[in-house]
């Protein structure tokens, strides 16, 4: 794609946005999946900037919710959920660099119905949870299976929704922490942000030698906020082109498509995630696009967009974006 040439990855990446060698990260190659983002696991793959990784991800339940009769509380075993492929070691990556991940495709794999959503006790945006702790009785558990193909998500007999796949959990390792793959943070992780989709380049601030890229938790589609906490979860084949941008100090995750740039904030309460995202976007406009700070603040006020990724995970993730066409 042409715009990639002019993207940050194309202009500043070690591989200039060119694809290198392709690696297959199959289930067999992965072996045990990972449940934390951290530096303590041995890499399952070593790649160089520019290399392409084709990874076989599991769904967030590691395939344990097989039928609509399954009961989540009986088959899931916390904290062993949201399994991740990785870590993938990227040669030369070090703290202070940025890992660029160009998402080339996300496709469902495995038997149909490939898609799963569910009501999990004490989890979700509209129920009492372990943190927004209430005394109200819980809702009944429920599992819903959906056929998911590139032609659509068969929500039920009457409703088919567009297939708009993306990666729920993607990022690099923290420096010394190992954090549950359920949590998003400045290094990425479980952002559940639908913009992390084919066609986007996502930028992560490297914290640890080799970056240690993780990926998992693909979704066939999702509404804003991932309301009940469980999107159209599916096992997937994910194709990622990875590049390395040396010496780019960014405080958190950034993202770029042909049309817009976006900063991501992950925090609670939700307004703090919005503040993080917008402040970083303003600083980005000042640093790279010649804006005076108050002018950038005004521009985001009049033309910024907010995307609510999730309102259910340990931190909520929001993306603040602005169209490239508005940047003068």
């Amino acid at each position: 794609m042409d715009w990639i040439t002019h993207s940050y990855m194309g202009r500043r990446g070690v591989a200039k946005g060119h694809a290198g060698r392709e690696h297959q990260l199959t289930e067999a190659k992965q072996g045990a999946y990972r449940y934390v983002y951290g530096p303590y696991a041995e890499p399952v793959l070593h790649i160089e900037p520019g290399d392409v990784v084709v990874a076989e991800t599991q769904d967030a339940f590691e395939g344990k919710l097989k039928t609509e009769q399954d009961v989540p509380s009986e088959v899931l075993n916390m904290p062993f959920v949201n399994p991740q492929c990785g870590p993938i070691h990227v040669k030369g990556a070090k703290k202070g660099d940025v890992l660029a991940v160009y998402i080339r495709s996300v496709l469902p794999r495995g038997p149909q119905p490939a898609g799963t959503t569910a009501l999990i006790t004490e989890f979700g945006g509209l129920v009492s949870t372990g943190t927004t702790a209430m005394l109200n009785p819980p809702l009944p558990e429920r599992v819903k299976k959906m056929i998911v193909t590139p032609e659509g998500v068969q929500f039920n007999d009457k409703i088919t929704l567009p297939f708009e796949p993306f990666i729920g959990t993607l990022g690099v390792s923290p420096e010394i922490e190992a954090v549950t793959s359920l949590q998003p943070d400045y290094w990425g992780g479980n952002m559940d942000l639908p913009d992390v989709a084919p066609g986007a380049v996502v930028y992560f601030p490297v914290q640890h030698e080799g970056a240690y890229l993780y990926v998992g938790d693909c979704h066939g589609r999702q509404g804003d906020g991932e309301l009940c906490g469980v999107a159209v979860e599916m096992p997937a084949t994910v194709t990622l082109q990875v590049d390395l941008i040396p010496n780019w100090a960014i405080p958190g995750v950034r993202l770029e498509t042909e049309d817009f740039i976006m900063s991501v904030g992950s925090a609670r309460p939700m307004e703090d995630a919005a503040r993080m995202a917008y402040r970083d976007l303003i600083r980005w406009l000042v640093a790279d696009f010649g804006f005076e700070e108050s002018e950038a603040y005004f521009l985001c006020t009049q033309a910024g967009k907010l995307r609510v990724g999730n309102m259910v995970d340990p931190k909520y993730s929001l993306g603040a974006s602005i169209k490239k066409a508005y940047l003068g």
Copy 2:
């Protein structure tokens, strides 16, 4: 427009969505503008269901920020900001009914530059305020004027943004309260939600005999969140077609366009506004579209949209919506 026939207003309104008599609510007719949404002011206009009102609104600063040299803290006099037209008495409206307001047009009026944005001390989404109270020094005050026409908003010499006007503050009176026009709530008010735009029908739960409709605070355009607290404020000519739907119990503001239905929540922290909006949307799907509750919860999870109206007012306003095409 054809879809109006099939809207709630068209199907259940007293006037069946048909336009009645047109009323001019000029500056002269309005006289003193209003700074609270409440039942204690005398109506400036009495209308019947179906009537059309053409109102001359002031900008949020009542025109006091005339040049970029004006200093907000010197010319503004709290709490006398965000002046409103109204109240407009709607014949037959009573508690338990819904006032339907079909927005036909919002156009800038008065001399150019008609648009104003500003940095106001202790106000905005990315600064210390009276509630998110910090010890950090404030940003300098600043006023920015912009030419606003239907062809666009001239943000600066290099950037012209699309003209996408809407009404920042619109609603009905609470039952016994009189609340600052700076605040949004279940009766409407200062939602600063860009979907309250030409082409939409907005539904308000009537609290007081005659509904007491207020309108003001139009914007030439605005980004999600109204980040610095001040959109492209402009004096405007607003054309509203008002109808009355008897006996429709809704807990807060709802909205409808040709393509989607939306519930609005206003609260802090932001996740509570999102919860309010989504819960009402789910209950709407259950009550009117035949969904079982968990199925509606799943559908909003996979296909709901969240619009962050404002993240700066006394309550944040978010709209949760779903496409009519997805309702089966």
Copy 3:
């Protein structure tokens, strides 16, 4: 009491803290109780600085929950709850002044059991509400009656709690708003803060000519946060000594006892209420006690106290205080 001589009321009040004429504000004299704090009602009493008011308040349910068999949702009629005595007009009070209210006593009145607590649907700190809107089923409604005397609150057969009465709702009118008596704000109102108790002087920033003092909603005692939303509600006889401090610009409610000074913040989320309270306390230390700002910030860090008044009302109220003994 001696310390009153050295209080703000004693030093700067028009009446120098001396008690003047006593007024009886009986149920009969009050007539209709009030459900908003606002300037639109006619005063029921006119007093002068220094005067003492003995008011007969109703409980928050206006006595409608008479037995443990009563069902709140059947007998309560929103928004007509939390009835208030007042408004009381204080001669000479104007915007920019402070109304000082010295609470001399709060005693239960009427037949026993005088105390009532209850579980109200969609209300309380540990249940789904209209704002923290969940889909979980509600808890059953329940009413609990308790004998309340100066000797104690008979919680049940086994447990008697100390009688530690205070005023749940107390304050002055906003300038142009009329706000439900359920809400606390910078003018006071429904703070539900146990420090608003006999022996304290509470300071309110006057917004409207005559101040328009309101009082109601007394509690026999309450834990921090008023967890289920309903304290030991009781009808009471309240004795207040009212004074006027001219030209004291305070941004919200302040409070003083013999031992400490306190600033009150009311906001959501709860950290914002804490920030408001602590920031005002720091500014108070700087303005009146000779502290440099960072030194005051350090002192509050090491010696400040936070009292969570309520975590259930439309805004949460917290008091930040510091012992007078620590002020050097």
Copy 4:
């Protein structure tokens, strides 16, 4: 102390609350301090239930802020702050058990002035931070040193505050995560809660074989909320008696003194921490003290206390408590 016999530790601990062998965990024995709570480090000490550990903790800055002329941003190196002693392996501890830690003493050690507080850029309860991200300019950095002895904390020339020491950071390892020692959570960590003080027994839910106890970050005293983010930090000698309670399922940290029991919640926003704490306290009353749930809810409403530990760390920590005397 007699009450220990009747405490949970005394009644249900493997060692019945009796002190066993004493271990010295000196600086030399500790070697490198730890910056995460996790299972990936090798234990520095192996103990048995009942054993006593005397640990030499560093202050939160590892002694790098030596004078008031030091500049935090120049000498601190994130994330290597808040150094911890440990992990300490407790024989027999396994997931599903509770580690009981009886705090016998916390005494300052090292040269005077032993106490340090500071203003750190982008950190604190009343300033813009990385999460509550504002555009306002920061406050100047500042370091303040204080002499700290059991006789008092010399805040400045005029003010001496009581010595009321406690442990800021204490807890066990998560199961698979390794989390920064700056963060509190259900396993303990950086709660900065002044009740974690000599005379208290703190209960932690074991997640990992051997429990892996960590301790550090002692404070000479602290106000509620730890407002600027930095208490009276001091290197300390800490004496802990550790016991093990098999098969006690608790969802987070609990605490007991002679007079009260307390549940701790750590979350953002602050009301969620309060909800977690109070809900657990109610469930505790139901499980162990014979209360029906609504009766426990009422009792906490009328007699519960909330302590705001910190309002500055990645999660805020609050303790909800009730006097043992009120439990009938």
